[in-house]
Amino acid sequence: MASLIGSYSLILGFCCSLIIFFFSVRNFKSPKRFDYKILSFTFLQLFFVIVSFVGLIISFINSDFSNETVFNHSHTTKPLFYKISGTWGNHEGSLLLWLLVLTLFIFLFLIKSKKQPNNYRILTSMFQQIIIIGFFIFLIKTSNPFSYIFPIPNEGLGLNPILQDPALAIHPPILYLGYVGSSIIFSSALAATTLNFISKDWAKHIKVWVLISWIFLTLGILLGSIWAYYELGWGGFWFWDPVENVSLMPWLALTTLLHCILALEKRLILTSWVIILSIATFTLSMCGTFLVRSGILNSVHTFANDPERGLFILIFLFSLVFLSLFIFFFFHKNENNNNSFFWLSKESSILVNNWFMMYFLSVVLVGTIYPIFLEVITSEKISVGPPFYNKLIIPFLIPFLLSMAIGPKLKWIKSEIQNKMYLVLFLFISFFISFIIIKNLDINFLINSILLTSSFYLFFITLRDFFIKGYQNLSQNLAHFGFSLLILSILFNNIYSTEVITNLKVGQTFKSKSLIIDFQSIDKKNEKNFQAIIGKFKIKELDNETIILNPELRVYNQPNIITSEADIKTNLLKDRFITMNLVSNQDYFNIRYQDKPFMIWIWLSVLLISFAGLMSLLKKRYEN
């Protein structure tokens, strides 16, 4: 029943799109007044999509296996929470969620943009409806979440156990809010270009949307990382896996846009660049959708793939690209002549930021899609993994960090460096500290010490600004401070991490100079949807109290998959991380114990960065 309502509601939503499009065109010809029918139908559309989404959730809760999506991704023994999160844990449901966010955002946009000119609002709504129509067709035609199966199966196939996790349950909605938020930026930039409305006002108005999608995208990526850290079970948090890269690319573009739009807002410069970035952000999000959903990439996360879907998104993606190219080249007039820069000014520091961000973006982009290109052209397969990204990104981080420290100190238009003594002094102090830290270690890499110096530099400079500047530019300073903290914790985490891999039977003990691992016992526990084998390990480090860790092996019933659940003890200084794995035909377990310092600071610093974004957003509201 719920399935049926959802299905019809989806079609009604699609009809709304066509109606809105019709009214928009009519209204656009005589834009004296804003036609409120557009707004009402947008609301109606949102309502239908919500009904449809709720319908799918209800089908999942009721385990209605006449629905193919539910049958493929759910099971009666699953806890309620994962029945619900299973709704968007699959291709069809996640696309419906995507559509929901698309319609929600255009509705909010129309409400919040009342001060803007009518024809700009109408045109934005039209462009957004083009995207929405594309997704409606995609959903209904190639991946309908309400397909019916007959005869009705008694039991579903179950949800992949690694997706049965709280962090991953909220990861997709948050990430989509970020991805899809960029669609508003896209539509609005196209509308503004067509109407030649790119102005300081427009910059101020669109900045809110940039901030919103940026915050959600940051949080979404963070959640994904945290999940990968404890669920994939090998203690890493970023693997340069294509699917991760795909979320990083729009983030880089958005971050660039966020900086660049400041220059537009203050000085009306870089207009073309802002337009290109606005288009690029959403295009990259779509490109990510294409790469993930089409199965063109080889990755841990790829959805079950279907070439027809891939083809559809590909054509849709490139229609949008060509549409934007057309609009950009035929409507955009680069008329302002005050594109002048003094080398030492805030706008040039923003340019430098853009320059590096674009470089990082190109590294990630080329690294991700190059194997596809090579395979098509020469039919040879290569892998591009972490070493590639490390080699190309890390050296460039150094000047990037330094300019992040100095950039915000500069003034608009022209600036002289006053008080340069303290800038030099701080550099010296940072270097001294890094030198001491690196000196006492036996991994003395040149790059480590320089990198550490530059991150400490950013750290101290921003820290000083909290005291000197107080509330002025606080959000910006906080974000930069968070970034320095992020790089520092990643660096320390890399440098100080230690690891023991060993095979142990129950009752055996592993001893080394600084560590004793005592495998005391194993327990069995039966849960509703899995059976757990729980190990009990007593860990004693020389300089630490004894702790007990309980990693698990879970044998899920539906589908029948064994997963290994890490046990992690977190404190402010370090994470202690243990996993155990079965070894075939042996009576021992493979134990991996890791000591990971400053792990929590990585998460905290990213949280801090997104919090800074939120602060900037609230401040903007307050000023308006």
Partner: protein, 171 residues
Amino acid sequence: MKIKISPLIYTLIFLIIFFIFYKGLQNSNIYTPNLKIEENIPSFKAKIFNNDKFISEKIFQKDKFYLLNIWASWCVPCREEHSFLTKLNKEEKIKIIGLNYKDDKKNAKIFLKELSNPYDVILLDEDGTVAIEWGAYGVPESFLIYNNKIVKKIIGPINEELLTEIKILIQ
């Protein structure tokens, strides 16, 4: 002039990207290894299953056909493939050499007792490193060898079709 050319260039670039993605979609993303043939057999050292003596690539004599079959008692497709190996064993022109992959010796013996032993010699690969010397991915996998060269590489279990193919090859 410059202004008019750049849209064309960008359009062209994106068209090329579109085309490549389109082509890429048709390629399968599952990695299938390059089945190079006429490759020399690798040098290796392995224990013999029954008597713990070491043996090397020298067991492969020239002018003779060999089938090196990687198997394990815990591998389900190996059971399916076993009957075909037994059939192949009746051919006189070919010797079948087993490579027991990461197995428990007891289980392996039971496996052979149950399903008969088609192998002329069985080599032991306790930690899976010998299989890697051969460039194998897992079990089951088979290599047809003639004149110290790998003539054919079979990934996955042998079936009726492959069996006839092997029979034709060794004639």
